[in-house]
Symmetry: C3
Subunit: 151 residues, 3 copies
């Protein structure tokens, strides 16, 4: 059902991105699934590179945030198999690679939050922090980690 | 009782700040309440803007951290109605908008931690991370997220 | 057993670093232990200072990440007494003090993740976020917070 909803939006849960290092992409503890920080990788390639307020436009940033959110769902699917087991999206933490003077982190992070809302409805109402940082792995514009609760 | 304590300190739980975007201010999952990152908004207005080590003095930063902490309590109150249901303040994550060379994040974050200590006593003994970042939403000097456990 | 493993690696759980401020180093809530952000302090002294991509080499950064991880274990030990009670290392959040243009956060954070893997084996498989920031307390190159689950 959730994956049908994602398809209706013209999107698709990607294959899970490989971690860049000595850790795992997602983990369940009691009923909470924590993801590792996800970059906007598509088939292993980072199609967006650089900072908001410089190389990356707001529109590109919002799109990159959507891809991060889908990658979070992808690695969660790797843990629970079926995204319909998600009872509640709990939290997104959104790190945004920000040029000096860029203070529009919330509207960029909305790319992820609004997509989660469209996919999950009430179950998608999450808390969120959005902060600017001066560098991210691979010169990614965004990194997002997610916590969800499953049934 | 907790709100009486806050009043004794000459403070007041503000009305809950509105989220800047497509998310909710706080959420309970099992017995944990997670807040979204809170800025030092007062009645919707950001009275402090800029970076520690530049436009914002240490004393202003500490005050801004206090306001963030009160805003966290405000959005938690929106979930549980009564702050006396808080059994333990678990964690503060404090992001501090830092000019190059500013390394006094702990003393600024203490504005929040010490207030929580005064309000909650033993129940207020929390863990904390304080990090410097180069930009925050709306040019806020500080953003704080909180986790508490309720009975 | 876990401490024997740490000794076999030529390492030792240090005495718990003192918090720099008004908070506690670690806290248990239900079965999760959360740590405060740990700096690479050794006997109270920060032997590494500065940014990756500038004053701090990659090798030094990896070593500093290891020390942060050991300090996390030290403060967890202060809560549970025996590190063998750790059932699962859940999450590391790794903040890396990054000079402009430094995008190698994952390989630095691996200093911590690989050490946790060597110490805990399967129980050490954790999720992780690694982000660059422009300043950290005391000019530390790294700050790491950890979540573990205990039996």
């Amino acid at each position: 059902m959730i994956e049908d909803k994602i398809e209706e939006l013209g999107l698709k849960i990607p294959d899970a991105p490989k971690p860049l290092a000595a850790y795992i992409p997602a983990l369940i503890v009691d009923k909470l699934i924590f993801t590792s920080g996800q970059l906007p990788l598509e088939k292993g390639i980072l199609n967006f590179k650089g900072k908001l307020g410089a190389e990356i436009s707001d529109e590109e940033g919002r799109k990159a945030a959507e891809i991060c959110a889908l990658n979070c769902l992808s690695v969660i699917k790797g843990v629970v198999d079926d995204l319909d087991r998600i009872e509640q999206v709990v939290k997104l933490t959104v790190f945004i690679n920000s040029a000096n003077g860029f203070i529009g982190q919330p509207k960029i992070a909305n790319g992820a939050s609004e997509l989660i809302g469209k996919i999950f409805g009430e179950k998608g109402k999450h808390v969120r922090s959005a902060v600017g940082v001066n560098e991210l792995p691979l010169n990614s514009p965004i990194e997002i980690e997610m916590i969800v609760r499953v049934k």
